[in-house]
Structures are given as C-alpha cells and as structure tokens.
C-alpha cells in the first residue's frame, strides 16, 4: 500500500529525530521523580506515582505530537521533498494519511516506552498489574492521535511556530472547555445560552480522555464512558483529518 510506504518513511524520519529522545528522557525523569514526590507525601504514595505518571504521559505525549506533527508536512514543503513524492502516482490524501499514520505509530511506540517505565514503577510498589491503568493509557493514546491530526491540519497551511501555538492552544482549551458546562447551567435561557452551547459543542473536550481520578482513587469506570470517549476520539480525529485533506488537496506547492 502506498499509504504504508509513506507511513513507514515518516516513522523512520521521526525516530531519527533527536528531539524525540530528549522529550523521552524528560518524560522518564518526571515519571521517576514521582517516586521522590511520593516519599515526601503524607498518605497513599502509590496514588501520587499514578497521578504524576499519567499526567506526564499525557503532557509529554502531547508535546511530542505537537513538535513532530507541526513540522513534518511543513518540512516536506519547505525542503521541497514533496515535489518528487507528489509527482509519483499517488493521491494527495494518501500522502497526508501516510504522514499521519507514521506519526501515530511513532507516538504509539513512544507512549509504550514511557508506559513501560511507569507501569514498572507502579508494579514495584503494588506487586500487581492494574488493568485500569492500561485503560487510562489507551485513552491518552486516543487523545494524542487527535492532537496529532490537529498538528497536521495546521502544518498544511501554516509555519511550524504558528502551528505549534495553535495546537498547544487546542490542547489547553480542550482541557478547560468542560468549565463551559457549568456556565451553561448558570446562564438564563436566551441567545447567550445558545451561543455558549454552540461554542461548547464546537470546542474539543479532551477531558473525555481523562480518567485519572477514577483510576487513581479506584472509582468505578462505566463502560459507556470508555465507549463514548473512544467514539468521540475517532470521529473528532476523522473530522479534523478530512478538513486537513480538503485544504491539502487545493494547495499549490510553489
């Protein structure tokens, strides 16, 4: 498959980038540092390790997705490598999807490496495997896949710096947009309420992928929640990729 060839080439490019290993090093350091934090905490030490660990996976994963995602397509255009690829019998959507899948594969492996360190640290304290942690990591992966699609969307028409700012804003807004829910409840019915409701629907809600509290405090995790979050992640990602493809198809490579 042509998409597979592009994806593996993207993967090769990404894993040869030193920034990735620097981020991996920082992520590992932060996860291990949670052990130190646990030492100076009163109460359940494992909770701290889990909390800080999962937050690190999400944060460093997002930084990796943004740093690499915003540069990949732009670099192809800037360095003109795209000329020789798009002159081959390949559709533009195949190129873009290949790039996306290659990056997602890279993130999957990076997340797996970070998770390995994290799970090993938790195992050393609890001596048991907690499946809910894997569930939390799965949702983080869905979140990273979505952020990657956003980064690729911006890099189709903008420079890496601007794309990074946009993607980072998306990440931050995505994690605080749930606050609008409270606002909707407090506003009296009328135009402004409808407006806030529309904004709430359009803005991403990345908190859908956050089940840290439930996992750390051993709260029940309803299966509908996982199901809904998975569907939300897949459809939002497909929606963003569709827009990216539409923009990319019309682009002139001057």
């Amino acid at each position: 498959m042509k998409i597979k060839a592009i994806a593996f080439n993207t993967f090769k490019e990404a894993i040869r980038d030193r920034i990735l290993y620097l981020l991996l090093f920082f992520a590992a350091t932060t996860i291990i540092f949670s052990r130190v934090l646990a030492l100076i905490t009163v109460g359940d030490r494992v909770k701290i390790i889990k909390d800080v660990g999962l937050a690190s996976l999400s944060l460093f994963g997002a930084i990796m997705a943004i740093v690499m995602g915003t540069g990949l397509v732009y670099k192809e255009i800037d360095k003109k490598t795209i000329y020789s690829i798009l002159s081959k019998p390949i559709h533009r959507y195949q190129f873009l999807l290949g790039k996306y899948l290659g990056l997602t594969l890279t993130l999957f492996i990076m997340l797996a490496l970070m998770s390995l360190i994290f799970l090993a640290l938790v195992f050393l304290h609890t001596y048991k495997i907690e499946w809910n942690l894997l569930l939390a990591i799965f949702l983080i992966f869905l979140e990273l896949s979505l952020i990657t699609s956003i980064a690729i969307l911006f890099s189709c028409f903008s420079t890496p710096i601007l794309s990074s700012i946009f993607s980072l804003s998306f990440y931050l807004i995505g994690h605080i947009s749930w606050g609008l829910e409270t606002l909707i409840q407090k506003i009296r019915p009328g135009f402004s309420k409808v407006l806030v409701q529309i904004v709430y629907i359009l803005l991403p809600n990345l908190e859908n992928f956050n089940i840290k509290t439930e996992v750390v405090h051993y709260l029940p995790i309803p299966s509908q929640l996982i199901f809904f979050s998975t569907l939300y992640g897949i459809f939002y990602t497909l929606f963003v990729l569709t827009i990216a493809v539409l923009i990319f198809r019309k682009r002139n490579f001057i």
């Binding site: 593996f8 795209i82 020789s84």
Partner: protein, 307 residues
C-alpha cells in the same frame, strides 16, 4: 508520431505581497512534445519553466488551460505512472541512504521486494553510485544528489521523463555523464523534456526546443529550422604578417604573441588574406567558420522581446 505531452493555452498567476496582487507567470503556453524526442525547454531565470513543469505534475493548479500526457488527463494516476521527474536542486530525505531512498520509491510504486532490489542495483549502476549505496544522502555532494535524483525519476521505467535543470551545478565530467544517460533514454524510446539554461548541452542533445520568455513561448521548432546553417563569419589565426598589411580585410584584430586573430565576414577577403600570408611567408594556424549557435538565437530572441 503520437504526442507524449500536449499543453494548450496554459495560464497561471500567483497572488503576492502583503496586499495580494496578482502576478501572471504563464501567459497562454501551448506546446507539444512528440514521442521519442528530446525536447529542450529554454528560458532566462524567472521565465516560468519550473512553473510549467509543476503544472504538468499537478504540484500547482493552472488557472486555465489543458494538459494531456499520452492522451490522458494529466492529473490521473495512469498519466503519472508514465512520468519520471527530477526537480531542480533536488532535496531529498537526507536521513536515508541511497538504497533506502530508492527502496522507498519502489514501495510507492508497489514493486515487489525482489524486483525492487534488482531495480535499485540497476539504477545505482546507471548513475554511477554503486559505491555510495549505503551512504546517507546528507553526505552527498550536489552532483551526487543530481544523480540519485535521476535514479528516482527512472524507477518506474517512465515513458516521459521531465528534467528540471538536470545539468545545473555539475562539473564538465558530471554533465557529460548525465547527457549520456539522457541520450541513452532516447535510444530506449523514452521521451525527454528538459529545461535548462546551459545552451551548449541542449544544442548537443535536443531534437526540438521551445524558448520561453516572460511566460510566453517566443520560438518553437526543430533545431535545424531555428538555427540557420549559414556561415556567419570565419575566424582566422595567422602569424608572420604585419597587421598593417591586413587593414580593411577583417574585423576585431587581437594579438596573442606573434599570432593575429581575425574575424572575416566575406569569402573574397579570406582569399586575399591567404595570398598576403603566402607572399610574406607567414603561417596560418586556423580557419574556423562560425555558424549560428543556439546561444545566438536565444540572446537574439530574448533581446527582441525586451525591446
């Protein structure tokens, strides 16, 4: 003969500047490249050569016009399967080795592993890079990049090869090697369209040329038709004769030691000079007749357009 490439009335403009202003790059280009020929696409910098090639390849979309490749719509995958393209100043994935790089294109063309490996060996041999097969492209010199670029352009055994300034940045030996490859492609029945400003090379290998100036094709046709074979003047180098004796018999005297270089425009004058040399017991070192070159034509056409 069938047409490998046909372009009709191609227009392309870009918006530039902070307050966007439309700038026309191609102003109604029409040309046709016959199957099996080497077609030279000439023009000064900024004339629109690369823009035309990018339109053919679907990298940019024309405002107006029709492009057909072997009778197929140019954006169809079937048409693209027949094309090989070498970009100007090729930039490639520098983190890949030459073999990995070609292997990637083999995968894009969905070529099976064994066949792919065979093809890579064959192409590396063709462009003379076998010894550098496992070196990363970031360590390649410009000439080597040009050669690996040519190899990737030929991976799918294309019927139409588009080369954007293939001889740029190469030393004389490198230019000769690439020229030989191009001639070999023609012998194999392929059609080659090459854009270049190195006129000497184009003159040596092209069957037909089109001259593009400021987005318009000013002149197009076979080299024989465009360049007259009439002798423009004759260059003579003689010695043992006093310059005073030659007055009125030629133009542009220049002296290299004892040798005198003359530019003679009429045949009778040549005969007269020969008689003088014989009388004075001098020596004739060379008599070279000069016909019109592609460069003369090119400079003439560009100047005419500017006026």
């Amino acid at each position: 003969m069938a047409e490998a490439l046909k372009i009709e009335n191609l227009y392309k403009s870009f918006k530039t500047g902070f307050i966007p202003k439309r700038k026309e790059i191609l102003k109604g280009i029409s040309l046709s490249v016959e199957e099996g020929e080497i077609f030279g696409y000439l023009g000064p910098n900024g004339a629109g050569k690369t823009t035309t090639l990018k339109c053919i390849l679907g990298l940019i979309f024309p405002d107006e016009g029709k492009i057909e490749i072997f009778g197929l719509p140019y954006l169809s995958l079937k048409a693209k399967e027949k094309i090989g393209f070498l970009p100007e100043n090729p930039y490639f994935y520098e983190y890949l080795t030459a073999t990995e790089f070609l292997s990637f294109f083999g995968d894009v063309f969905l070529i099976k592993k064994k066949e792919k490996e065979e093809k890579i060996r064959e192409l590396l041999h063709l462009v003379g890079l076998e010894s550098w097969a496992n070196m990363a492209l970031r360590k390649f010199s410009r000439g080597m990049l040009q050669r690996i670029g040519l190899a990737q352009a030929l991976f799918n055994d294309p019927s139409l090869v588009l080369l954007d300034e293939p001889l740029g940045g190469l030393d004389p030996l490198g230019r000769k090697e690439i020229r030989d490859v191009i001639v070999r492609l023609k012998r194999e029945g392929k059609t080659v369209l090459l854009s270049s400003h190195i006129l000497q090379d184009i003159e040596m290998i092209c069957d037909r040329v089109a001259i593009l100036v400021d987005g318009r094709i000013i002149n197009q046709g076979s080299l024989h038709d465009l360049i007259s074979e009439k002798i423009l003047f004759t260059e003579m180098t003689i010695s043992g004769v006093d310059a005073k004796d030659l007055e009125g018999l030629g133009e542009h005297f220049s002296y290299h030691g004892e040798k005198i270089l003359l530019k003679v425009f009429e045949e009778e004058q040549i005969e007269k000079i020969l008689v003088i040399v014989q009388k004075k017991k001098g020596r004739i070192h060379s008599i070279i007749p000069r016909t019109e070159t592609l460069e003369d034509l090119f400079v003439g056409v560009v100047k005419q357009d500017e006026d």
